[in-house]
Symmetry: C2
Subunit: 136 residues, 2 copies
DNA sequence: TAAGACCCTGGAGCCGCTACAGGGTCAAGC
DNA sequence: GCTTGACCCTGTAGCGGCTCCAGGGTCTTA
């Protein structure tokens, strides 16, 4: 039930430094302390930190998570905001995938400029890369 | 032919601050100066900066680019290193795409937990996010 | 001679941690 | 009672790749 920061880290899988960082930046509230100035955490902290970490593995920014945590604090409100935030995040991820696919194609074409090992002087890849960005 | 930093920026599309940053970090060599201490650039600088920017639009890290520039300085060597570096980069991009696809799936499933707007208290998304990371 | 466009340096800030240095606390073993 | 070693604390700096700012200098044009 009650634990120090090391155990909280073990349970949740977070790094100790990360937990303190989340406290500094206001994602986690400052917990009570022992007489020796150690932080004491309880089940609520485990839950909150798990929530944060879970969101992080989904690639959300800390600001997004801050918002979600804010929504949680108003349980009677509509969760339309939550849905919207998630949709925005999905759109962001899709856009990144799209951009990376385009990039992959370009890189693949670039790779084919130099199918075998020549001297650097004649390397098709370096030649291509030396053209100004927009050129073909 | 000879130009100040502003024109180099205009020609290449880089930011002035970025050019100075590349100089600080050794990607661009320090150019000669006017009597009034202004940097003077020529065609070679345009070419080198274009190369760097081109690599950057392909998502390469500055360290990779530093390596490529190093290869260029040894034109008689085999370009196998160049090919390898590019292949590694392609692999990296593919891995990112793979990870983002997996993420997209998870996010989509999460979104379906709350098909319509309820109250925050009953929001399937927040409920799901509150589970520890590993749980289903 | 004054305005305004351009340039300079040095330093701080962004994100999300991570990694110290230099200390304090606490329980167990001798 | 004293030492060892595991754990904790604070504060600061670093990563990458810029970006922005303050506070100044320089050069061209009117």
């Amino acid at each position: 039930m009650n634990m120090k920061i090391g155990e909280l880290a073990r349970i949740t899988g977070a790094q100790i430094e990360t937990i303190r960082y989340y406290e500094r930046t206001g994602l986690m509230s400052a917990p009570p302390r022992t007489e020796g100035n150690y932080r004491i955490y309880g089940d609520k902290h485990v839950a909150r930190l798990s929530f944060i970490l879970h969101c992080r593995t989904l690639g959300m920014a800390l600001d997004d998570i801050r918002q979600l945590l804010g929504f949680k604090d108003a349980p009677q409100e509509s969760c339309g905001n939550v849905n919207r935030l998630l949709e925005d995040h999905i759109a962001l991820v899709r856009e990144r995938i799209r951009a990376l696919h385009a990039l992959e194609t370009v890189l693949q074409q670039l790779r084919e400029q130099c199918p075998d090992a020549r001297t650097v002087k004649d390397c098709g890849i370096l030649k291509e890369l030396s053209e100004p960005s927009g050129a073909r």
